[in-house]
């Protein structure tokens, strides 16, 4: 048998960070990074933003080079999928038939787009956005004057709508709920986003109840419950993501809205860890409330954290969740968990934008959110994030008063 080492399944953001971190923490044995995409790990957030509006044929924004992987002695297995985990024998089996032994295994399998279940023969031709190839295909079809319908008013749907408008398309966005960004973002921010989209020319329909999607004569026809028919050339569905748990499930690991891990990111098998979009974990900062995140920085941080625990450091993961979204020249950021809050305190930053502090029953800051252009809000959000981390309880009046320096409230 080969010497068994550290094996990482999924060469996305979490997987590659884990592999690099294992090496920098001093693990000297084998590290194998297995990815089924056939591309070097790349920045997924760009797929709905820069990549779609790029004038010239874009390329994936790789997060490491092959040379760097070689230098760190990371064995990168590309374009091959792990099909089975032999937990007794400590081996993974690949689609190609190859078998790789492991001492510790990390599952960083990410998430995949939720499929829209809808009547009509057009449903099979919807575009979903998760992978580089999806973005390339979408970019090619976003031609000047194309009629585009985006289903779903969440982050990805809105970013795609913004990109499509900037490519000169006629864009309609359908949201089933009462408002945009219903998950995790205060209504006031959602309003700013909605206004900007309308100003840029996106037609937004909230409370839209889609009944069927038909295809014929080179176009789609979307029918809503109220009888409206929307003809268009391209339909993109951005209705959320589901964790990629198939492999874990087949291997008998506990699943609970994702691969279930404990606060040390360990699955129900102590030799197998999970990180990133694929796992649900109890968050130590929020009373061990179990969450699953779909956020870039969490993938980075959990990947690195899992690496430490694979080497035996046994530390709980407690990084404040953080997310950003770019639409036009607006940037929105959320740190913490807004749904743990009962009150919202607004801090008006004038020209810079708006910041909201989200407080729980005890007045502890559990989240901070903000929207603005030009990037000057980021610093304040970052300090807000530190307040969340410290579980600070500053006076609401101080939070609301923009003349009070936030850094002061940390002390």
């Amino acid at each position: 048998m080969n010497e068994s080492g550290m094996v990482v399944v999924g060469a996305g953001e979490a997987g590659v960070r884990a592999a690099l971190e294992l090496r920098s923490l001093g693990w000297d044995g084998e590290i194998t990074l297995i990815g089924n995409e056939g591309l070097l790990p790349y920045e997924r957030p760009k797929l709905s933003k820069e990549l779609l509006i790029a004038v010239e044929e874009p390329s994936p924004a790789a997060v490491v080079s092959e040379a760097q992987l070689a230098e760190e002695r990371i064995d990168w297995v590309s374009g091959d999928a792990v099909r089975r985990i032999d937990r007794e024998g400590h081996r993974v089996e690949l689609a190609s038939g190859r078998e790789i032994p492991y001492m510790r295994l990390l599952l960083a399998t990410g998430a995949k787009p939720r499929k829209l279940e809808i009547a009509g023969d057009g449903a099979g031709d919807l575009i979903y956005l998760r992978r580089y190839e999806d973005a390339v295909r979408l970019r090619e079809s976003l031609r000047n004057g194309s009629r585009v319908v985006v289903i779903g008013g969440g982050f990805i749907g809105l970013e795609v709508a913004a990109s499509a408008i900037q490519r000169g398309c006629a864009v309609t966005l359908l949201e089933a709920g009462r408002r945009l960004l219903a998950r995790g973002v205060p209504e006031a921010i959602a309003k700013v986003v909605e206004q900007e989209h309308r100003k840029q020319g996106v037609r937004i329909v909230t409370g839209a109840s889609l009944e069927r999607i038909d295809k014929g004569a080179g176009e789609f026809k979307l029918r809503l419950a109220d009888g409206t028919v929307i003809p268009c050339d391209i339909v993109i569905a951005g209705i959320g993501a589901v964790p990629e748990t198939a492999l874990a499930e087949k291997s008998g690991l506990d699943i609970d809205n994702g691969i279930r891990v404990n606060e040390k990111l360990q699955t129900s098998d102590p030799n197998i860890f999970a990180a990133g979009d694929c796992c649900s974990f109890p968050h130590v900062l929020f009373g061990n409330h179990r969450i699953r995140l779909e956020a870039w920085r969490n993938a980075v941080d959990q990947g690195m954290h899992a690496a430490g625990n694979m080497l035996g450091s046994e530390k709980p993961y407690g990084v404040v969740p953080w997310f950003w979204s770019d639409q036009y020249d607006l940037t929105l950021q959320v740190a913490g968990l807004t749904d743990r809050a009962v009150t919202i305190v607004e801090r008006n930053m004038g020209e810079e934008g708006q910041i909201y502090f989200h407080l729980n029953e005890e007045g502890t800051v559990v989240a901070v959110s903000g929207i603005g252009s030009g990037g000057s809000l980021a610093k304040h959000i970052r300090i807000g994030e530190m307040l969340v981390e410290k579980q600070a309880k500053p006076a609401a009046e101080a939070l609301a008063d923009h003349t009070v320096r936030l850094k002061q409230l940390m002390r």
């Binding site: 960070r17 920045e43 997060v63 490491v64 870039w296 920085r297 980075v300 953080w322 950003w324 030009g374 990037g375 000057s376 980021a378 610093k379 970052r382 300090i383």
Partner: protein, 105 residues
Amino acid sequence: MSGEWIEVCAVDEIEEEDVIRFDHGERTFAVYRTDKGHFYASDGYCTHEKFHLSNGLVMGNVIECPKHNGRFDIPTGAAKRAPVCVDLRTYPVKVESDSVFIKID
């Protein structure tokens, strides 16, 4: 390497543990003052994307980019945290008669 010293601002125009933007000709810089009272300077834009570091947070000797939270060591410009992987270019700084100067080529 030759270069000239350019006056940036008065010492007290940069707060402790903070950073300001300094534009000179076509170029833009970030000039830092650490909590220990030391001054440093680097290129203005992050090496990940073209985002100005003067909106970032200074923590000890580290500047954190406001866009995706990449980090650099301020004195050396070394990239410290993902997603940044390319070091930041730094410039010599001196303080003379209560003014901050940087040396650029």
